[in-house]
Symmetry: C2
Subunit: 366 residues, 2 copies
């Protein structure tokens, strides 16, 4: 895939010689750095919540189990915090400068997970029961609200102009994220959704917040709006690549790795990319799939389907080309993301790290 | 009550001669001004929401009915917008300067109503079915989230330092509001709640946002933090007075006027001020009430109680002194609110209007 990497002018050809295992090590280190540097600040922020919200949030983040005992859940892949710290480095600032942004983005991301899991009726996340299952719907709503407010509070209490700019970008991203969830819900009640509509929804639901993670550190580090906008473009397309991979994992992912149920997205009748791409195709597999899904839409008992019935739908999606198209789309979005970095001046190592993270996003298995 | 009004030094004694009917007219005009000046901006903000959230929000605000036809619902008393515009005048600015603040506070207030109605299972608000009843729980969550985000968006897109300061105050108020709702929910599962705990909860749930309404216009008008803090104190205690009256109306209010069910708060086992004050009293009525409520707590069928059973509980609360204590508390908070204005320099007419609004809050019937 190295031919898709058209790097900035300040990158010398010698730096293209990064081996795959170097890159893997580099990504693991970046994710670990993001987690290590932001978790204490995130925990301190969550500690501000009044009981029982602090406990419910700690359960959600995987810091305690349902009985309140300490647990060592990682709270997810932490791609966003890693990106926010790199983003500060793009502006020539220390990664520390990005921490409030990293934490704020992580708080908004988890606000959306808490509410989405409840709205979608999802019972499992990260191999554990979701908050509404364990603590009830009211706590899922309330703690989600509290995390959202906390995100703005953290950024604004910096008391700086850049803190205000960062909050504004985060707010716009959050509104898009909510728009995306609204579109996603509405798709479940519609028989047909176009590929373009699906990409727009995913751009809102996933792209916008990853875009914000990629610019927020730079904004806090004093970058100008043009730089922040270019970083947002990188993040937006990275987010779409991320989501395309997520859509593949939502159907063909290994449950023991992803922490979700088998055929998770099919169970929820998600009109994800592989599904809409397959339905948009021509030929007998697309036709048969269309008939089956139209019948499913009238059937409220989809939860009672056998594994074979789901496997059959997944096979038809693949046969109609939905799986392959989505893989290619992930690669296309990956390439567009990298292009957005071309005109942005940044330290050599930061650029290498942003490229490595982009590569990771499209090859991950969970 | 005029002896509780120790006004600022720049108010001449001649201005004390305001008759009751003048004051009523003045309050009606202030509320009308708040509604007229803010509604177009509020509607334009709601129009930004993607479908179907714009429609769901329009239903919530009373602009359309459940079938989508235009309706003329007022969307509530609009005390907060009136206060926010007066707040701008305190800083010597035109009331228009307070509009983004008024709209932002109204958006946060309605975000909390949408979520609280769902969490509390309330089926009616302002004489109409609540959003979750009509459009389902997911839309109530989603549109609430969207209104919260929109509030910050409106304030931050001003792009001014004062817009950032206003957003920070609103964010802190929103976090308190969420804390208050968390406390309120937790009280329903507890047998005993002290009067102090109840006042703390109500200060968070109602006081904090009214406090913000009272300072946000001044902040947008460039007032210093000391002035904004004094206005928040006025608003905080005004909010507690408001809530004490609300608690009285929640038990003894006339359903055809309040738009709520009879004995609304008793049906929901709310540990509101009259209840906790009655339980804290001594004597046979308080004792009998305690026994009844303890038995109710074990009984999940409280919704099936007869009108007589609710009337009996209400009578015991009154006999134990809970009704009278709450009335007095409303007057105490009203007096403390007015005291907070003493040291604040402001135009004569603005002070008169803030006093008139405070009086209205404690005498209203809905």
């Amino acid at each position: 895939m190295s031919n898709t990497r058209s790097r900035g002018e300040n990158v010398s050809p010698a730096n293209e010689q990064v081996t795959a295992s170097d890159a893997r090590r580099s990504v693991a280190a970046l994710l670990e750095r993001g987690r290590t540097m932001t978790t204490p600040v995130l925990r301190a922020a969550v500690d501000r919540l009044a009981p029982p919200m602090n406990t419910v949030a700690a359960y959600h983040f995987g810091w305690i189990d349902a009985t309140g005992r300490p647990a060592d859940g990682s709270g997810g892949k932490a791609v966003r915090p890693a990106l926010a710290l790199l983003s500060a480095e793009v502006a020539g600032a220390e990664p520390e400068v990005g921490i409030p942004g990293a934490v704020a983005v992580e708080l908004v991301h988890n606000f959306s997970l808490l509410h989405d899991d409840l709205m979608d009726g999802d019972e499992q996340r990260r191999h554990r029961d979701t908050v509404w299952k364990v603590h009830g719907p009211a706590q899922a709503i309330l703690v989600g609200d509290a995390l959202f407010a906390l995100a703005n509070e953290l950024l604004l209490e910096q008391g700086t102009t850049d803190g205000g700019r960062a909050t504004q970008r985060l707010t716009v991203a959050t509104r898009k994220l909510i728009d995306g969830q609204a579109q996603d819900i509405s798709f479940e009640h519609r028989e047909r959704v176009t590929v373009e509509e699906c990409l727009e929804m995913e751009g809102n639901k996933t792209g916008a917040l990853i875009a914000c993670a990629c610019s927020i550190g730079a904004v806090l580090g004093g970058a100008d709006d043009a730089t922040a906008d270019a970083l947002e473009r990188y993040g937006y397309h990275l987010g779409l690549a991320f989501q395309a991979v997520d859509d593949l994992l939502g159907i063909w992912g290994e449950p023991s790795v992803t922490g979700k149920q088998t055929w998770s997205d099919l169970r929820q009748r998600k009109k994800s990319l592989p599904v809409v791409a397959a339905l948009a195709a021509e030929g007998p597999a697309a036709e048969r799939l269309g008939e089956l899904l139209a019948a499913d839409a009238k059937n409220t008992e989809i939860g009672e389907f056998s594994e074979e019935e789901f496997a059959n739908r997944a096979a038809l999606i693949e046969e109609a080309g939905g799986r392959e198209w989505t893989s290619q789309e992930a690669r296309r979005q990956h390439a567009t993301a990298l292009e957005a970095l071309n005109g942005v001046y940044m330290p050599e190592e930061t650029r290498r790290n942003l490229l490595a993270l982009a590569d990771f996003v499209v090859v991950r298995e969970k």
